[in-house]
């Protein structure tokens, strides 16, 4: 029943890629926030298990796109048990005082070829700085996939205090990746 109702819309979507479909319902179990740091030249990957993401994106009106992401920092998987324990502590995220990181978009602009760029303040460990992240938009059936990365300089946010400030051991640059799978905002998809 539902599939039959959605099929013409899907076909419409194929014919008109810029059809006014606003995607607004993030599917958390299909979405992910990952990162890769470099320790003594070794890339080490991790991810955050829990985050709340509100994304509103319509490829026909990218400038109107909005995102608010709140990451529960203690849900980190930093690659090993001892690293998980260390990074929530006072030298790193200090999650007791700063339990979450928050990003709020202020602008989205198209880069062409299905690519866009989102910009906005990121608040982490009491520091707020603008970050800019390019991302790609793709549709996967009824869903939209927004896939992007940006480089975060951890010391800009005071992440890695004391001896951990040594960037020869743990690089300042952390590659952050995100992938949000977003369903249409209203049932049926079109507005």
């Amino acid at each position: 029943m539902r599939a039959r109702r959605l099929l013409p819309l899907a076909l419409l979507g194929l014919a008109l890629p810029a059809a006014a479909v606003e995607y607004g319902k993030v599917l958390p179990e299909k979405s992910q926030i990952t990162f890769t740091s470099r320790q003594m030249g070794v890339p080490v990957s991790g991810k955050f298990g829990r985050f709340a993401a509100q994304v509103a994106f319509d490829p026909a009106r990218p400038e109107a796109g909005k995102a608010t992401i709140e990451i529960e920092l203690a849900s980190i998987d930093a690659g090993s048990a001892e690293a998980d324990e260390e990074v929530v502590g006072k030298n790193w995220f200090q999650t007791k005082a700063f339990p979450s990181a928050r990003f709020v978009s202020t602008s989205v602009k198209p880069l062409g070829g299905g690519r866009y760029e989102v910009r906005g303040p990121l608040t982490l460990r009491g520091h707020t700085q603008d970050v800019t992240a390019p991302f790609a938009f793709k549709t996967d059936g009824q869903l939209a996939v927004l896939d992007g990365t940006f480089v975060l300089k951890r010391l800009d946010f005071g992440v890695g205090q004391g001896a951990w400030g040594d960037t020869d051991t743990v690089a300042n640059e952390v590659q952050v990746g995100f992938r949000f799978v977003v369903a249409p905002a209203s049932p049926g998809g079109a507005k």
Binding site: Q39, M40, G41, V42, P43, V44, S45, G79, S80, E82, A83, E85, E86, A163, W164, D166, T169, V170
Partner: protein
């Protein structure tokens, strides 16, 4: 104190073989205690450095071991003293083979363990080694046990190796040790 050598057998190892032997020994004397020490440290930048240095040393030992084997095939070892009993010759040959095997297999087990624990090995922070196994907690723990067991086997065998060399030099008073340490060669004739 008489020394008899077979006519064609070299008296000493080649300088290259001697250099490689001592380089590998030095790296093991560095990496082995480092491995024991670093393991229980709380996480710190030092710990990450020690792990990196330990792995760099291990990869280097592995590469030098291959070089040594290649060199050995074209440059045979000097003959053992004729006076050595047969069982001792066999034991010496067997232990040497085991040592070669261990200096290949121990770095290999460390490399695989590292991959299984989710940490790639990047030689000198520059040359990434491929991860031959994916991240796998149980495999990582198993390989850790294997790496440890092999290392304590190495410790035991190196102990016998060193004791035998000293015994040859001080008790048998032959030239077995001086083949690897030419400055110890007894002056005679």
């Amino acid at each position: 104190m008489s020394r008899e050598h077979e006519l064609k057998a070299p008296v000493s190892y080649t300088p290259v073989a001697i250099g490689l032997h001592w380089l590998v020994a030095l790296l093991i004397f560095f990496a082995w205690p480092m491995g024991v020490y670093m393991h229980d440290l709380p996480l710190s930048p030092q710990k990450l450095q020690y792990y990196a240095w330990h792995k760099w040393a291990g990869v280097t030992v592995f590469l030098l071991a291959i070089l040594r084997l290649a060199w050995r095939t074209s440059h045979p070892a000097p003959a053992l003293p004729e006076a050595m009993p047969r069982w001792q010759r066999q034991a010496a040959t067997g232990l040497h083979h085991l040592l070669y095997l261990l200096i290949l297999v121990i770095p290999l087990s460390g490399w695989l363990m590292s991959s299984a624990k989710g940490f790639q090995t990047v030689w000198f922070g520059l040359v990434p080694l491929p991860d031959l196994v994916g991240k796998d907690k149980e495999l990582g723990e198993l390989l850790e046990e294997v790496h440890e067991a092999l290392n304590f086997t190495l410790l035991g065998i190196v102990g016998v190796h060193v004791a035998a060399a000293i015994k040859h030099h001080l008790v048998d008073r032959d030239d077995v040790l001086s083949r690897m340490l030419p400055f110890l060669r007894r002056r005679e004739n």
